[in-house]
Symmetry: C2
Subunit: 224 residues, 2 copies
């Protein structure tokens, strides 16, 4: 198909397609003339994947390129492709070298031991967790530090389910693609569900607390 049809099929503008071609996110079509190329179903599918990773997963163009390179390289095992996707979805803040960082490192090491997690020192989440907890320490925000185990418990359950549902789809390409989509979009889904669950938990809590509050308190008192 021509680029106009590719654009229509994938729901991506011709300008974006040209940009992705220049950035190496999409393989060139088969040349059919001096200014023409022909594209196939593989291009439609790849374009949809690119848009999902960038628009819905929030990946940068550079991260998307890294992830797709790993997806396309038959020599890279599923486990390592997922490692690349993990780096892409986990922002690691610049490290600061102070007492708060040293304390946070001890906290994270203790957490890893307590939960029996086998996690290497280069895991992006491990480095990020140290910086996040050190920042809380510097701000005097100890709620997150105190809640660390509750977070770890809920996330551990989730991660186990996520890893277990990597489905063997028969061929390497679609298995790896599915796993990457799960990893990247799963991260966005967690954010989305958290915003919903927080509103719901907040509404429930407001209900419980309302009779102690202003006009409602007076109403509550009158009913007693």
């Amino acid at each position: 198909m021509r680029v106009a049809e590719l654009s229509r099929r994938a729901g991506v503008s011709v300008a974006s397609i040209k940009y992705y071609l220049r950035e190496g996110l999409l393989a060139p079509g088969e040349r059919t003339g001096p200014n023409q190329a022909s594209y196939d179903e593989g291009h439609v599918r790849r374009l949809r994947l690119v848009r999902a990773l960038i628009d819905v997963g929030g990946l940068s163009v550079a991260s998307t390129r890294e992830v797709l390179r790993a997806v396309d390289d038959d020599e890279v095992r599923l486990h390592d492709v997922l490692g690349v996707a993990q780096v892409a979805v986990t922002a690691v803040p610049a490290p600061t070298d102070d007492h708060a960082t040293a304390r946070a490192e001890t906290l994270v090491d203790a957490l890893v031991t307590r939960r029996g997690w086998r996690v290497g020192p280069s895991n992006p989440g491990r480095r990020a967790a140290v910086e996040i907890l050190a920042t809380c320490d510097r701000l005097g925000a100890h709620d997150l530090l105190n809640g660390l185990d509750a977070y770890a418990h809920a996330i551990e359950e989730l991660a186990r389910t996520e890893v277990d549902t990597v489905v063997d789809r028969g061929d390497r390409e679609s298995t790896v693609e599915g796993a990457v989509v799960g990893m990247v979009l799963g991260s966005s889904l967690i954010s989305a569900l958290r915003a919903m669950a927080q509103e719901a938990a907040g509404a429930r809590r407001l209900d419980e607390c309302a009779p102690l509050d202003g006009a409602d308190a007076a109403e509550g008192a009158r009913q007693r």
Copy 2:
């Protein structure tokens, strides 16, 4: 204190301080001369908060400005400040109007009913969840769709803990600040712990599967 000392105390360059002043993230100091101003402890504290939200929480300058405006406005209740912070940490992909979106809306509505969540239609997570699930549907990635309840269950538990640990610190300003830090940095912490827990779950799974794989399978067969 002068700007040089403010810079040293907060660990933020003078150039960044001037940028934040221009962008309205930091209140101007007290003018002490034609080219001089004096800053106080409130500025140190605010700068640390700005850096935490931007560098560790990943907020944009514009989102940070919105959040700080709500924090600083005494008329805005805690519940509504958290709403603003929630919008800041939840990316909502551009909506697409097709069959996949309609199906995803039904899925999300059913999830909300099933879990008994009270969540308004404008909740950013609700709109994001619809787009994420619609994208999975379009890509034929049904793992996330199937795992939706497992995600919701784990996140619900987490959100309840998060909402319950909003600590009353005595005055509105520090209570609200603490809650915002928890909301924004909590989001980064979830990502970080997920990367660790996934590596740990993956390592455990590789162990379990190893004897069925290649050379190890031969070894396993010999031992039987």
